[in-house]
């Protein structure tokens, strides 16, 4: 089934540890995004990539890094996790980066940092 997969589904992490959240899409979409979802705050963009080989910062990029080595994969890395990074993380993709493009979302990764 075409779509976006994320791994792991959930994770409990000690503060200070490094963690990579994986995201893979099989729709050959050019643009990919990482959001975090927090109660009462909706979704906030962490990082984005308009096409393979390029990345950019969103609203809340501090403490996170991304790479886009190919079209399909867009991993998100927390170099040294802190409790404020406890959240549900969603990867999304769209065919292009022009406004009006529908975004397709993965099932999410629930991360708890203790």
């Amino acid at each position: 089934i075409a779509g976006i997969t994320q791994a792991p589904t959930s994770q409990i992490l000690a503060a200070g540890r490094r963690m990579t959240l994986r995201c893979t899409q099989d729709m050959r979409h050019n643009a990919m995004y990482w959001y975090r979802q927090d109660l009462g705050l909706g979704l906030r963009l962490i990082h984005y990539s308009n096409t393979a080989g390029t990345t950019g910062k969103g609203e809340v990029p501090d403490g996170y890094s991304v790479s886009r080595a190919n079209t399909d994969d867009f991993p998100l890395t927390l170099a040294s996790a802190v409790p404020s990074q406890t959240s549900v993380y969603f990867c999304a993709s769209s065919e292009g980066h022009q406004r009006g493009n529908e975004q397709f979302f993965g099932p999410g990764t629930r991360l708890t940092v203790l």
């Binding site: 950019g56 493009n101 975004q103």
Partner: protein, 115 residues
């Protein structure tokens, strides 16, 4: 800058009753408007969108939304809700900003359909 306001965090409604979920936005540039739905423990899915043309847009499952430029609103309505409509609904605006599609989401409205 753009922002989205969903004033109602929760909306309880009886099955088969009508519902309206409110969304207001602000933007210094023209925007496209979306409603996404999130079922429990799932990612968001597009419900409907307004890009141009008719200000009334419809989804395949009976929801509709009307773009009102003068009131900067994009309220979501359904004349008769079903139990399966229980979910969280997010209004969003999309504009091109700094070279990427900037999508700003509202804080969401949880629709609870009561049997």
């Amino acid at each position: 800058a753009q922002s989205v306001t969903q004033l109602d965090s929760q909306v309880p409604v009886f099955e088969e009753a009508p519902v309206e979920l409110r969304c207001n936005y602000s933007s210094s540039v023209s925007v496209y408007l979306f409603w996404y739905v999130q079922y429990p423990n799932q990612g968001l899915q597009l419900l409907l969108k307004y890009l141009s043309g008719s200000t009334l847009v419809e989804s395949i499952n009976g929801f509709e939304a009307e773009f009102n430029k003068s009131q900067t609103s994009f309220h979501l309505r359904k004349p008769s809700v079903h139990i399966s409509d229980t979910a969280e609904y997010f209004c969003a605006v999309s504009a091109l900003s700094g070279g990427y599609q900037k999508v700003t989401f509202g804080t969401g409205t949880k629709l609870q359909v009561i049997p």
